[in-house]
């Protein structure tokens, strides 16, 4: 039977017959845990399987990215618990210097087209950007996966999302992604696999595909794949639950306003909102290309006095690239704080939170109430975030 992309990947990892709605057991090429969740995975494992070893240490990893290096005793304890377990079982740890686990797994080739990867990161479906079936799971699932190398999974239905037209030159991958968060909401691809096609999808760079796939979680989807030349494709005649067309012709920059990533407006509708701080980074916008875009805006300019701009490269490799390309210097001279790679900026971790009454513009992926502290968070792309920090209010680079 003709299969969609997700069905093909799952079928190649399951002895069961794969069809939408069916629950199958799936072999996992990579099972991982972070510094949040990881300690509970270890505790679960040691409680349930005392004296036993993981199924395959070479396919098992820890990635520390949430609080890196640890800025609280609890994180320090949890990380050390994982390190001790890893040493005992010969498991590799991508430690606090490495960066965001999902990005590290892409860079290291652990997440490759057609593979299956699980971990304790709810944005692990970002790996759809490299045609890998990544799934975030809780610490019970992951402890079980460490031990057995398998997980049960309900095969999702697939939806085709066809992007019509070409966005404006000012709009980047994040603007397209935020627009899709608005258009698809949390219903249209909910619990489904989405296959994006059309010229605007095919024009995305590898970093742009990461940006789009990183926010499938915010659209309540299982995973997203982006059509590209030479990429993994569905079989001809594969069955889709729905085909959704989204017109992106002339799309201007977009901003998600509180309280959710799905309440999205054109930039023009939110210009002038005063901000206290900015954050550029995250698994959504922490690639070299994203930081280069911010640096273009910041070159020869200063972050407005009284405004704080935090920049967090996704990985150590990105950090190295921005160092070598002079991007780091531009960011530094503009007044930005450049912080160790990782997930800081999106959750409580090594890059801090917002305080009561603070308004932040962020290139992250979530702005739910309380997520980044007690302040308000607006989500935007790197160019708008950078320009807003120069202006002290939400603006696009062309308004500076």
């Amino acid at each position: 039977m003709a299969k969609t992309i997700i069905e093909k990947i799952i079928q190649s990892h399951s002895p069961d017959e794969v069809a939408p709605g069916r629950i199958v057991w799936m072999d996992l090429d990579v099972r991982s845990a972070r510094d949040f969740g990881g300690a509970n995975v270890v505790k679960n494992f040691e409680r349930e399987y005392p004296g036993e070893s993981p199924a395959d240490a070479r396919k098992t990893f820890f990635t520390f990215d949430l609080c890196a290096p640890a800025c609280s005793l609890k994180y320090a304890d949890n990380q050390q618990l994982c390190r001790d377990f890893a040493r005992k079982h010969g498991i590799r740890v991508y430690d606090v210097d490495a960066g965001i686990g999902s990005h590290v797994m892409i860079e290291e080739g652990l997440a490759a087209p057609g593979t299956t990867v699980v971990g304790t990161d709810s944005h692990l479906n970002i790996l759809g950007a490299v045609e890998c079936f990544g799934q975030g799971m809780g610490d019970v699932d992951i402890a079980f996966a460490f031990k057995t190398g398998r997980a049960w999974f309900e095969v999702p239905e697939s939806v085709k999302v066809v992007l019509k037209g070409t966005p404006s030159a000012q709009a980047g991958a994040k603007d397209l992604t935020l627009f899709l968060c608005r258009e698809l909401g949390t219903k249209k691809i909910a619990l489904r696999s989405a296959e994006f096609s059309g010229p605007a999808a095919e024009a995305l760079s590898p970093a742009g595909r990461i940006t789009l796939c990183s926010m499938i979680t915010e659209m309540a989807g299982i995973i997203g794949f982006v059509s590209r030349e030479g990429g993994l494709a569905a079989d001809l005649g594969a069955a889709y639950t729905a085909v959704v067309e989204v017109d992106v012709t002339g799309l201007p920059p977009q901003v998600a306003v509180p309280p959710s990533p799905n309440t999205v407006k054109p930039l023009a509708g939110v210009k002038g909102i005063k901000i206290d701080s900015g954050f550029i980074g995250s698994c959504t916008n922490g690639r070299t290309e994203d930081l280069a875009r911010a640096a273009e805006v910041l070159r020869g300019r200063k972050v407005k006095p009284g405004v704080m701009l935090k920049v967090v490269p996704a990985t150590r490799r990105v950090y190295e690239e921005i160092l070598e390309r002079g991007i780091l210097e531009t960011l530094f001279r503009s007044g930005a704080i450049v912080i160790n790679p990782g997930c800081g900026g999106c959750a409580e971790g090594h890059a801090g939170l917002t305080g009561k009454g603070e308004t932040q513009i962020s290139t992250g992926n979530r702005n739910f109430p309380g997520k980044q502290g007690k302040g308000k968070t607006y989500l935007a792309g790197p160019a708008v975030a950078a320009a807003s920090c120069v202006a002290g209010e939400i603006r696009g680079p062309e308004d500076l």
């Binding site: 349930e48 994180y75 809780g138 949390t186 409580e348 979530r366 109430p369």
Partner: protein, 181 residues
């Protein structure tokens, strides 16, 4: 009592305007500031600690109580604590029209009954279900009734792996001794 049958008092998660709250995310259920907590006993008092209007829930909830929430319950992060905090409070079940995929499987794996309730908007609009009502339902057949007022409701019946894990207690118990299925 047959473990397939659940009975308990309802807490219907309404906002200040009386609407059912949809898209409740894991930061509202169990805030990321508490992620380093790994002892289940400490998680109960933090349940709904960031959900406006419901931060006093842990004090009000009694063992066996049942939560009714809007669609896409448990959106957001993969944290098991957002399930474990309810296990700590001995919540009997959660009923919602839909769940985030990760939340749903986390709950299934921990043996917390999470069921999809059909036609919730109508049931609420017709006042067939309200906070304080005592309801009784069968997870296997999906048939439920309100013992406080005359009303019936339907749940998507638990089946397949979810039911097997539920009966075993949790994923680990289900997986033993073979370690697989």
């Amino acid at each position: 009592m047959d473990t397939d049958i659940r009975q308990g008092r309802l807490w219907v998660l309404l906002d200040a305007a009386g609407r059912i709250i949809e898209d409740i995310d894991t930061d509202q259920i169990f805030h990321n500031a508490h992620l380093a907590i790994s002892d289940i006993a400490q998680m109960g008092p933090l349940a709904f600690g960031n959900l406006e209007g419901w931060t006093d829930f842990p004090g009000k909830c009694a063992p066996g109580d049942i939560i009714v929430a809007g669609r896409n319950f448990g959106a957001g992060s993969s944290r098991q604590q957002a399930v474990d905090c309810f296990i700590a409070l001995k919540v009997g079940a959660i009923l919602a029209p839909s769940y985030s995929a990760i939340y749903f499987r986390n709950a299934v794996n921990s043996g917390l009954p999470v069921l999809k309730i059909l036609d919730l908007d109508r049931l609420l609009a017709q006042r067939k279900l309200a906070s304080g009502d005592v309801v009784r339902f069968d997870v296997r057949t999906g048939k439920g009734g309100n013992l406080t007022r005359p009303a019936v409701f339907a749940l998507d019946p638990m089946g397949g792996v979810q039911y097997d894990i539920f009966r075993a207690g949790d994923l680990f118990k289900y997986g033993k001794p073979a370690g697989t299925k």
